[in-house]
Amino acid sequence: MLRYLGRRALYMAATLLAISLVVFVIINLPPGDYVTALQSRYAAQGQGLTVQDIENLRVRYGLDGNLLQQYWHWFTQIVLHGDLGMSFEHEKPVSQVIAPRLGWTIAVSLITLLVTWALAFPIGVYSAVKQHSVGDYAATTVGFLGLATPNFLIALVFIYFSVTWFGSVPSGLCSPEWCDASWNLGKLLDLLGHLWIPMIVIGTGGVAGLVRIIRNNLLDELRRPYVTAARARGVPEGPLLRRYPLRVALNPFVSTIGWILPLLLVGDIVVGQILSLPTLGPILLGSLKSQDMYLAGSIIMVLSVVTVIGTLISDLLLGWLDPRIRLGHQR
């Protein structure tokens, strides 16, 4: 188990390093750098920067020297000082722009993840155990539709009905009267009242995908010899399902954290846009449009890190669940 853990952790570090490279490339893709962008902005406002100002800024962001040196400067600034650079759009350090929104992003994603699981697991199991039943066909059809519909389209349809029926669009995560209040039951209920819309919009694709995965896996497992063998020794059907095929079908389910988390984070980009949530999605889009690359790159970086951590957690869970992985008999 320790060896497995070590290997996973090492692998995660390598992935993070590689991701930082990709992000650095993205930051540097648009022509010009932060200082030239700032310069032209000031020029547009009729202000000029002195040569000395420019020189100071270039040194601060390590913009002189070759790309590798620039990368190293950028990377060490993050690791040693937590300095992600400046956002020229918001005119403050990137970390200050991201920090307050990161919590909400993770909260919305995690809650959606839990709800996604809570919905997908029983539906998938039912669908597999009662294959060819009406419920199975309904679940499969809804699943196909859910996978085929882009989540922003779901959001648009939602908005259409909400406007025609209620005359308004729910936006944000809290009503104005609660937003600045401190946490209490009322605020929590208000939050939950707002949360279900982004959850449906973000989570539909995830639920559809997971139902398909668990259904297919369980159908496979139900045909295995160990199921027949367990039945042959008198294990009653309920415990048989729980202790045997479900145990195995749980594995791919756990490993989905790795791909469902980014899916949810991405859903947030789209939904945040329409429903104006206080999450990272909307500012990522804004920063990309204005080529505020330190901010954009940092958000992509943060989202990737969250994904990688999610993958690590799912790997650990897998190791805990599956003795073959834990004892090194597989992978």
């Binding site: 010899p225 063998a229 042959a232 020794r233 008198g234 202790r243 073959r324 008999h329």
Partner: protein, 338 residues
């Protein structure tokens, strides 16, 4: 002489079929068999002859695409005899029968155990279902059982996962699970096919010893005539979903009646006799059960087929007495050669 024996299990007119992509396949097409208490019945035949499906039908284990269409399977155990096929599929009695009265072991021991749970967990689970022992007592009993089936160092091995054990060890664990409730019948569905020859021999020895010790009946499914010679008291030969010949083991080897049995026996190499000559083989292959030949289903491959007779009417069963039957037109109803 066998007539005086008390049947433990009586299968009559069993028909089991499967829905496939190309139509309904009648895998078992009217099988009659008896298993006697304390004795070994070997069911022998080529792959696809329906022997495994027959065995699975007894414990109602045919999968979803299959169904038992007709027949009865009477269990004579301790109490009043009853038809297993009329039991509630989710009821307590069937559950007690499975693993309690009848134990079963399978062809692929490693695949028949869940890789995610230790063999101990799976054994203790079965023990507790059928014996009502508490956790600690069940664990102690489990260690004894593993020891009894010849697993070395059972105290440690009880916590091993199936993938940590060899195929032979897994089969021993399966046997321990099958025997944990002292069943009066053990169904063994080609338990040694997936094992290498030496392991195979050891498992067979173990089974024979355990049978003597527990005084249980064994229904042994195999395609290996060597195994039949070694284990069987009675033999049933199956072809395309039907029992074509039934006989005590010595008589079968000494005087096979059905042409299929003869052909089967002739294709087994005998040390000394067969050196330097080609072994006779049965011409053709087992037909697809979807397109069952008319009349006797063996006639296209039969060396003694009678044109105008075998290809038209299905043969009736001829009883020779003494537990011997054959399904062939070569014998008239009195058992004499036609």
């Amino acid at each position: 002489m066998e007539q005086t024996l008390k049947p433990l299990l009586e299968i009559s007119g069993l028909r089991t079929s499967f829905d496939t992509f190309d139509g309904k396949v009648r895998a078992v097409d009217g099988v009659d068999l008896e298993v006697y208490a304390g004795r070994t019945l070997c069911v022998v035949g080529e792959s696809g002859c329906g022997k495994s499906v027959t065995a699975r039908s007894i414990l109602r284990l045919v999968e979803d695409s299959g169904s038992i269409d007709a027949g009865s399977i009477t269990w004579h155990g301790d109490g009043e005899p009853f038809d297993i096929l009329s039991l509630d599929p989710r009821g307590k009695r069937l559950q007690r029968l499975r693993g309690g009265d009848i134990g079963m072991i399978f062809q692929e021991p490693a695949a028949s155990l869940l890789p995610l749970r230790t063999i101990g967990a799976q054994l203790i689970e079965t023990l507790r279902i059928h014996t009502g022992l508490d956790k600690r007592a069940a664990r102690a009993r489990a260690v004894e059982l593993l020891d009894a089936v010849g697993i070395p160092d059972p105290k440690r091995r009880i916590d091993a996962y199936p993938f940590q054990l060899s195929g032979g060890m897994c089969q021993r664990a399966m046997i321990a699970i099958a025997l944990c409730a002292n069943p009066s019948l053990l169904i063994a569905d080609e338990p040694t096919t997936a094992l290498d020859v030496t392991t195979q021999a050891r498992i067979l020895d173990l089974l024979r010893d355990l049978q003597a010790e527990h005084r249980m009946a064994v229904m042994f499914i195999t395609h290996d005539l060597g195994v039949v010679a070694e284990l069987a008291d009675e033999v049933a030969v199956m072809y395309l979903g039907r029992v074509v010949e039934r006989a005590p083991v010595d008589e079968l080897f000494a005087d096979p009646k059905h042409p299929y049995t003869k052909a089967l026996l002739a294709s087994v190499p005998v040390l000394g006799r067969d050196r330097g000559r080609d072994l006779p083989t049965i011409p053709g292959t087992v037909p697809n059960p979807l397109h069952r030949p008319s009349g006797c289903s063996f006639h296209p491959r039969c060396a003694e087929a009678v044109a105008g007779k075998c290809d038209i009417d299905a043969p009736t069963e001829v009883d020779f007495g003494g537990g011997r039957t054959a399904e062939c037109v070569l014998y008239d109803t009195e058992g004499a050669r036609a």
